[in-house]
């Protein structure tokens, strides 16, 4: 919070060159402009309370003098504003009518000294200290100290500082006064940053929300991300932490397949979200502005349909003294909570395996046959099955079988996995920032380190540096330049082998080592034992497999370098016309190397595939698999704009800008794969790729696909991709204000892109917006109601767009080349990758917004209510089309979608005393999304509906479900009602869409946050709750009801139907034999999974964060040569209240797929802030 205040202070307390003679010529310019001019010409600084001093007051004067008093007298005549000068500081105050001012010399009685600091104990320079009711006053120096002669008796000091609440302190008989100032929230909110301009909130009709940099910084200690910490801060923003869907949504989904995330802007230029998250240090953020409606966002044109989030970074302060600040944090995440996954443990799994063992259907001869098989199922018999078959064949006794099974059950795959493959995760962050400056130059510099240890022994180290410099060159030219640099290094471990996606086997008892730590050979879990043996006999290749040692050997490393350079130039032609130019270039280069050494299982098994039955090996005889990847992104933006800011007479003011912008964004990647590569010598061994990709290894010793007659190896060892977006835009906007009460805004923008080629017929048409705001509290009839500080009424209308990706569609058939060994001799082959569609147009979203801003009781109650209606036409998405056309899906403009709702945010300061304060806030958003119309209606068969996430007449994220009719009492099979209400047990019998009713959406219509904070002296405690309500999820249920038990099983399977009568107790279907042709997976697992009984409420309330902060007494801090020290602790996700009743945390879940995902226990963070 403090940083922001200082920033605003810098804006007001302007810089000046040392020149003795000051000249002011003003004819209707605002006081603010004049102050700026005086400051620029001298080294005087101004301090005033911007609540009582109206800096927009118009000045008419023409004076040149070397005497500052002469200048001020001339400037301030007829304004009702008085001044006092102490040293080089000038304090402004409002003169009381008829009052006879005392001068400091007249009322000399005693000297009172004091210090002014902010809440964190940081001295405030330039605070105005006035004796109430007089014009006697002074200004604090750079250490916050001040001294003032006061007349005898009790006086009241009125202490003011820009951005802070003005306070009155009765001095009594004290000679020394310590003044602690609190931020004035209302004032902070008065400026909105759109990325193109900084506007007075009072004059802008858009729907904005502003989050201070300090808030982002405090919350990001736990998340490490500037974006995640925005959750819960503003109404209308939905942060989705679940395993599927868009992470950040503003006011709902406006698109199905195009971009649904908002546009992220940093210092006036769009930035990719992922890069932003890595590159921008949360400590460097000055403020974040959300542009939610059309007038706010449409200035960003065709990319702004989903709202815009504008980040401003910090600039230096011209304090002449360099201030240094350190922030550090440590976050403990530990291991994921595996019990949440709800899988059977080893004992229960083996008990269940005994129950369903079926040697008649799965005959030993069949499951061990090595001649053929399917690719997914090598003929493998797992240890628990082997014992069951042995007993069945009479090779071992029941006691022996059970003893061996118990031994298996005593081992835990998970314990072993956590021990050998996982690490307790933590995050640490350290950043140091410096800022300072002189009259003509100010800078801000920061460096940051972030270390992250993931849960799978993956590590990342990130180093960031940021520098920003502002230069005043003459009184008409300002330059600002900033540079970010990022280096990050990540190391991780690779999965075992291409076919075996992870090191994890799929059986709960499959530990990697015995109790004394001797590793097991796990090859039998992946390959047939006879195959392993014969490969070894013929080729000498050892296919034994020790996952733990492979895990250590097979590593991947990636290095990311990124820079961003941003240069701004501002030229004042006249006092009302300014040219602003901005240029930004950013580039990132990510290189990654992954390596499987020669002795890894991946390389050994591939060598086995590359061996003939006679033992001839075709793959390199040494060296491993090496993948070298590069991904590159460059972007640049060039912007030129003219802005006008002029007041006509006393009542009309106009603010306008017009500009043009070029924006290019290019991303690309390259990847090279080499076999036989040696990391040390950096050489690889050549081999015959053409042969291996055409004829192949024939006949193979170990077929890649069981039963195939030749093993063929993909020849594509080099791949490259590239996408470039270019936009050329022309834009203008204007705001007119009458009597400071009524403002009108309008904007227009034309975007042209390279996406569809430059054919004008497919380019986006101009978009525009208009809005009005009424500052009702400034009306004379409102003067009576003095408890209302602010009452603004806003209304806006406008359009924004959404463009498709290049190559996705357009008026031309797009072809892509393909190489195939079968015709590589003849040249390139081409396929039509995207069919021509000249009807395709951009998505367009129309937004109507009405809002009220209300502040009362001296800022103690602050409310904003917005009601909006967004309507998107020409939704772009891939939809099924008539296969007769030659394509089964194409990108089309498929329909229209609406988002209607309201946002309410209330901030209340419930208790405010000098030592204690209690604040509370509530953000509430309701968004009703609906796919209003579909231009193309795909077939609405029941099984298709279960898979679609959108359907006409329903919100996006649709969940349809069968109507459950209970289990069949005869055999425990799933049954549902068909369209006629008859009970059926086959999915094929459910023929009509009416049999699968709509059950809800996975996107929450109600969401928001609430929180409270208590400050008691130096201690503060805050908590933040987030909630999402009104949406649904599919329950996580068991999916396997047949076949051998070769995978993890869901706990539910234990409660399945076993004997007639169970249907009264359970809905979980019975196990059945795969040989039964009257039933299949769709009919049992499918009907159950997709039944209405398994659609549950996804609503939840989470205690996202509890945080405690303590500011050390300044006395202590100064003893160790610091200006202030704060310590804090936070706990995130301490408590979850979820409505599903199944222990599902909707944030660790795929709502539509109905599957749990990794969940961590509450996370603890400790952080410290030190100011030097």
């Amino acid at each position: 919070m403090k940083r922001l205040i200082l920033f605003i202070a810098v804006l007001s307390i302007c810089l000046g060159a040392s020149a003795q003679t000051i000249s002011v010529k003003a004819s209707g310019e605002s006081l603010q402009t004049v102050i700026k001019s005086i400051s620029a010409q001298s080294d005087y600084k101004f301090a005033f309370n911007s609540r009582s001093i109206d800096t927009s007051v118009k000045i008419n004067t023409d004076v040149t003098s070397s005497n500052i008093e002469e200048i001020l007298n001339s400037v301030l005549k007829d304004t009702g504003i008085g001044y006092s000068i102490v040293g080089k500081q000038i304090a402004l105050f409002t003169k009381q009518a008829g009052e006879q001012p005392l001068t400091a010399t007249q009322a000399k009685s005693r000297k009172v000294t004091g210090v002014v600091t902010d809440e964190d104990g940081i001295p405030l320079e330039g605070a105005g200290i006035m004796i109430a009711g007089t014009k006697t006053g002074t200004v604090s120096n750079q250490d916050g100290h001040w001294a003032l002669e006061v007349p005898g008796g009790d006086v009241i000091f009125e202490v003011s500082y820009i951005g802070m609440e003005t306070i009155n302190i009765p001095v009594g008989t004290r000679d020394n006064v310590v003044v602690v100032m609190k931020p004035n929230y209302e004032l902070i909110n008065q400026v909105v940053v759109t990325g193109y301009q900084t506007l007075s909130r009072e004059r802008s009709s858009g729907s904005y929300a502003i989050v201070s940099g300090a808030e982002v910084k405090n919350r990001s200690a736990a998340t490490g991300s500037p974006l995640r910490s925005l959750e819960g801060t503003v109404a209308g923003l939905n942060v989705n932490e679940s395993a599927e869907g868009t992470s950040y949504l503003i006011r709902g989904m406006t698109s199905i397949n195009s971009k649904t995330e908002p546009l992220f802007i940093v210092d006036g230029v769009p930035m990719d979200r992922k890069l932003l998250e890595k590159m921008v240090n949360p400590s460097d953020i000055e403020s974040v502005t959300f542009l939610k409606d059309a007038t706010a966002a449409s200035i960003w044109g065709a990319q702004a349909a989903n709202g815009v989030v504008v980040f401003s970074t910090k600039s230096g302060e011209s304090s002449k003294k360099i201030s240094v600040s350190y922030d550090g944090s440590f976050t403990w995440r530990g291991l994921p909570d595996y019990s949440y996954m709800d899988y059977m443990g080893p004992e229960q799994f083996i008990a269940t395996a005994k129950e369903v063992f079926d040697p008649f259907t799965y005959k030993w001869e069949d499951i061990t046959s090595t001649t053929y098989g399917s690719s997914a199922n090598y003929p493998i018999v797992f240890p628990h099955e082997e014992l069951l078959y042995k007993y069945y064949r009479g090779e071992i006794s029941l006691a022996e079988r059970d003893a061996d099974l118990d031994a298996l059950a005593s081992q835990s795959w998970r314990d072993s996995y956590e021990r050998y493959f996982m690490s307790r995760s933590f995050l640490t962050n350290h950043s140091v920032s410096l800022s300072g400056g002189s009259d003509v130059n100010s800078f801000y510099f920061s460096m940051d380190y972030q270390g992250d240890l993931g849960s799978h022994r993956d590590k990342s180290d990130q180093f960031k540096a940021y520098i920003r410099d502002r230069m005043l060159i003459g009184d008409w030219l300002t330059l600002d330049a900033s540079l970010n640099a990022l280096y990050s290094k990540e190391t991780s471990h690779l999965s075992a082998a291409d076919e075996f996606s992870t090191y994890a086997t799929d059986l709960p008892y499959a530990a990697f080592a015995d109790a004394s730590g001797n590793f097991y050979d796990m090859s039998g879990f992946f390959l047939n034992k006879d195959d392993i043996k014969s490969v070894n006999e013929v080729s000498g290749i050892d296919l034994s497999y020790y996952p733990v040692s492979d895990y250590a050997k097979c590593t991947s490393r990636s290095d990311l370098y990124a820079i961003r350079a941003n240069l701004g130039i501002s030229i004042d032609f006249t006092s009302w016309l300014t040219y602003e130019g901005r240029f930004q270039y950013s580039a990132s280069n990510n290189t990654s190397e992954s390596y499987y050494p020669y002795d890894s299982f991946q390389v050994r098994i591939e060598r086995a595939y590359g061996t003939d039955t006679d033992g001839t090996q075709h793959l390199p005889s040494s060296g491993g698999h090496f993948t070298d990847g590069h991904s590159l992104a460059t972007s640049y933006t060039i912007r030129n704009q003219l802005s006008l800011n002029k007041t006509f007479g006393t009542e009309h003011s106009l603010r306008a800008l017009a500009g043009m912008e070029l924006n290019s964004n290019k991303t690309g990647s390259k990847s090279t794969f080499l076999r036989g590569y040696d990391m040390q010598t950096m050489q690889y061994i050549p081999y015959d790729q053409f042969f291996l990709s055409t004829t192949g290894v024939k006949p193979p010793l170990l077929p890649q696909i069981s039963g195939s007659s030749a093993n063929v190896f993909d020849p594509n060892n080099f791949t490259q991709t590239e996408i470039e977006y270019r936009f050329m835009s022309v834009y203008a906007n204007a705001g007119y204000t009458f009597k400071e009460k009524y403002s009108l805004n309008a904007s227009i923008r034309v975007d042209q892109s390279n996406l569809f080629g430059s054919d004008p017929s497919v380019q986006f048409k101009p978009i525009w917006s208009a809005g009005a705001i009424w500052n009702m509290h400034k009306e004379s009839f409102m003067k009576e109601i003095n408890w209302i500080d602010r009452l603004n009424i806003r209304l806006s209308y406008g359009l924004a767009g959404n463009s498709p990706d290049p190559g996705q569609g357009g008026p031309y058939n797009l072809i892509q080349s393909q190489t195939d060994p079968a015709y590589s001799r003849f040249g390139l082959g081409y396929t039509i990758i995207t069919p021509a569609n000249d009807k395709l147009t951009w998505e367009k979203t129309r937004t109507i917004n009405a809002g009220v801003d209300f502040t009362a009781f001296e800022g103690r109650l602050d409310m904003a209510l917005d009601v909006y209606d967004k309507y998107t036409t020409n939704l772009l998405t891939s939809v099924p089309v008539d296969p007769t056309t030659g394509f089964t899906t194409v990108l089309s403009n498929i329909g229209e979608m609406s988002n209607r709702g309201f946002e309410l945010s209330i901030n209340g300061n419930l208790v405010r005393s000098h030592n204690f304060s209690w604040d509370a806030f509530l953000n509430l958003t309701y968004n009703r999304n609906r796919l209003e119309k579909m231009y193309i209606t795909p077939p609405g068969t029941p099984s298709a509906l279960l898979g679609y996430d959108y359907w006409e007449g329903y919100p996006y994220g649709t969940i349809f479900g069968y109507r459950w009719a209970g289990l069949d009492p005869a055999n425990g099979r799933s049954r549902v009602y068909d369209q006629d209400g008859a009970i059926v047990n086959q999915a094929a019998d459910v023929k009509d869409a009416s049999a699968v009713p709509y059950l809800g959406t996975t996107i929450p219509p109600w969401f928001g946050s609430l929180g409270t904070s208590l400050t008691w002296g130096r201690l503060s405690l805050s908590c933040l709750f987030v909630y999402n309500m009104g949406h649904v999820l599919r329950n996580d249920v068991n999916s396997q009801y047949t076949y051998r038990l070769t995978h993890f099983l869901h706990n539910d399977f234990a409660s399945r139907w076993k004997v007639p009568g169970d249907e009264a107790k359970t809905d979980i279907p019975a196990y059945y034999s795969l040989a039964d042709t009257t039933v299949n997976e769709n009919d049992v697992a499918g009907l159950y999974k997709y039944a209405d009984i398994n659609v549950l409420s996804a609503s939840y309330l989470k205690l996202r964060e509890v945080s405690l902060n303590y500011r050390l007494p300044e006395k202590w801090a100064s003893k160790i040569y610091t200006r202030g020290i704060s310590l804090g602790a936070q706990v995130t996700n301490l408590m979850t209240l979820a409505a599903n009743g199944q222990g599902i945390d909707p944030e660790a879940f795929s709502l539509s797929a109905g599957a749990r995902s990794e969940r961590f226990r509450p996370v603890v963070t400790f952080n410290a802030n030190i100011e030097f």
């Binding site: 005959k363 069949d366 053929y372 098989g373 399917s374 003459g474 130039i569 030229i571 040219y579 130019g581 060039i638 030129n640 043009m660 070029l662 055409t694 004829t695 069981s706 039963g707 195939s708 007659s709 590239e722 996408i723 470039e724 270019r726 050329m728 892109s753 390279n754 430059s758 190559g807 058939n813 797009l814 072809i815 892509q816 080349s817 195939d820 079968a822 015709y823 003849f826 040249g827 082959g829 081409y830 396929t831 039509i832 069919p835 569609n837 089309v881 008539d882 296969p883 007769t884 056309t885 030659g886 394509f887 089964t888 089309s892 077939p939 099984s943 023929k991 040989a1075 039964d1076 042709t1077």
Partner: protein
């Protein structure tokens, strides 16, 4: 003054944006303009028929109760429905390759036909040849669809019977594809082929490209399928001589049979001399892959067919394997071994190969009573398939001998389905109908004339309610 110099400079920077700045083409994609790209689109068309059902309607397959159950769980409902010649083969939203694969070819072919004459960098002759090739292929895919979804050609009903749509526009939006009558469809196919065939190149570089010999063979095959043997004959004759001249010849299996009873075929299909225009189909692999996975053939070949038609030394038996013996039928030829198509050798194909050309040509010659020529062609084929002494010894009735040879050549591949359609009303071959039964081990299903084609699948009907079957 300095101020204005800088302002001027800034304005210059602002004004330097080029008008063609937006015309950058996304890399990795292209809009077809050159002849190389149009020609490359013909190479890019290597698509497989995957997971299709028509092969299972061929008569030579059988099953028992266990085998059928395994087939059902391994391959799914649609293939088993097709095997049982049911009316409703597909579920409401099941995709149907018989419809989707040919139509997916027609889109790029229509693009080539419409635009290739504007291509850059080629002579008019070259462009005309590419266009002719695309038209030939387009007609061929219409012909295939007509075999899958309409009754066999019959001039008596041709003008009234609904057949398939004729697809000549490349469009995914707004195009309509009304069903045309059998007469309209076959007229279209024949006209397109006749207009194109002379413009085709003499020589093909690749088996998916259509050269003159292939073009004539296609034209001949269409007419032959229609039962217009006399009209087919000259085309097949031209194809026969022309193909030979271009090196499309028979592969001598006798020289390639190995001791273990398997056959060594060129694995690179570009080197296989028997290819003319063939699209691979993967379906046949399905029963093959599952043979011993279930330790029994799920759709084995009927023993009565196998033992009636083959002699032990027929090298083509290498393409069948016995489940019990785990050997090919060439190595072990005994009842009870459950022979089914194996995965050695080639995948089965829909199209025209050299053996098919020989047999069609021989059949047309025989039907025109040019019997000595016919038997000479037949014997040439047989000499590449078995020992010469056996090869020369053919059945007395030449026409029957040729059809029997077709059965031997194509058994287990599913291609015999097309002969079953063609010969349904041929009085000479009514005896074949004795074989036209399938069983699931419990019930026996007999093929009827109205099941000689697939109903248009429900997923297509959902887009085209007007295509009511």
């Amino acid at each position: 003054m300095k101020k204005y110099i800088i302002i001027l400079f800034a304005t210059l920077i602002a004004g330097t944006s080029c008008t063609d700045w937006l015309d950058v083409k996304p890399r990795g994609y292209d809009i077809p303009t050159t002849i190389g790209q149009y020609e490359g689109m013909l190479y890019g068309m290597e698509l497989y028929f995957m997971d299709e059902v028509f092969e299972y309607m061929s008569f030579e397959f059988t099953s028992d109760a266990d085998g059928y159950k395994n087939a059902w769980s391994a391959m799914g409902r649609a293939k088993c429905n097709a095997y049982k010649w049911q009316k409703d083969v597909f579920l409401p939203d099941e995709n149907c390759g018989e419809w989707n694969v040919p139509t997916s070819f027609l889109y790029p072919l229509n693009v080539i036909i419409a635009d290739v004459m504007n291509a850059e960098g080629a002579t008019e002759e070259k462009k005309a040849a590419i266009r002719a090739e695309a038209r030939m292929m387009r007609a061929w895919h219409h012909f295939l669809m007509a075999q899958f979804f309409a009754p066999p050609y019959n001039s008596a009903i041709a003008s009234s019977s609904k057949c398939i749509p004729i697809i000549t526009t490349a469009s995914t939006v707004g195009a309509e594809f009304p069903l045309k009558t059998m007469e309209e469809v076959y007229d279209f196919i024949l006209t397109e082929m006749e207009e194109s065939v002379e413009l085709l190149p003499e020589e093909a570089e690749h088996h998916l490209r259509v050269f003159k010999a292939t073009g004539y063979a296609m034209l001949g095959k269409v007419l032959w399928t229609m039962g217009h043997y006399q009209e087919a004959l000259p085309y097949l004759e031209t194809a026969f001589t022309s193909a030979k001249a271009q090196g499309a010849t028979l592969l001598d299996y006798n020289a390639r049979i190995k001791e273990d009873g398997t056959i060594d075929l060129p694995s690179d299909r570009t080197e296989h001399p028997e290819y003319l225009y063939l699209m691979a189909t993967m379906s046949r692999l399905m029963p093959a892959v599952y043979i011993t996975y279930y330790n029994q053939a799920i759709f084995p070949i009927k023993e009565e067919v196998l033992f009636n038609y083959y002699k032990k030394n027929d090298t083509r038996l290498a393409f069948l394997s016995g489940v019990k013996s785990e050997k090919t039928a060439y190595a072990s030829f005994k009842p009870g071994d459950q022979y089914a198509a194996n995965i050695y050798g080639m995948v089965s194909n829909v199209g025209i190969g050299v053996p098919d050309l020989y047999l069609m040509y021989a059949e047309c010659l025989a039907r025109q009573k040019r019997e000595s020529e016919a038997s000479e062609v037949l014997v040439q084929l047989r000499r590449n398939r078995m020992a010469a002494a056996d090869a020369d010894n053919i059945e007395a009735d030449l026409l029957t001998a040729i059809i029997s040879e077709r059965i031997r050549e194509f058994i287990g591949f599913g291609n015999l389905w097309f002969d079953m359609r063609r010969l349904w009303n041929d009085s000479d071959f009514q005896y074949l109908k004795d074989y036209y039964t399938h069983t699931d081990g419990e019930t026996t299903y007999t093929l009827t004339e109205d099941r000689l084609y697939l109903e248009i699948p429900p997923i297509i009907l959902s887009w085209h309610p007007e295509y009511n079957n």
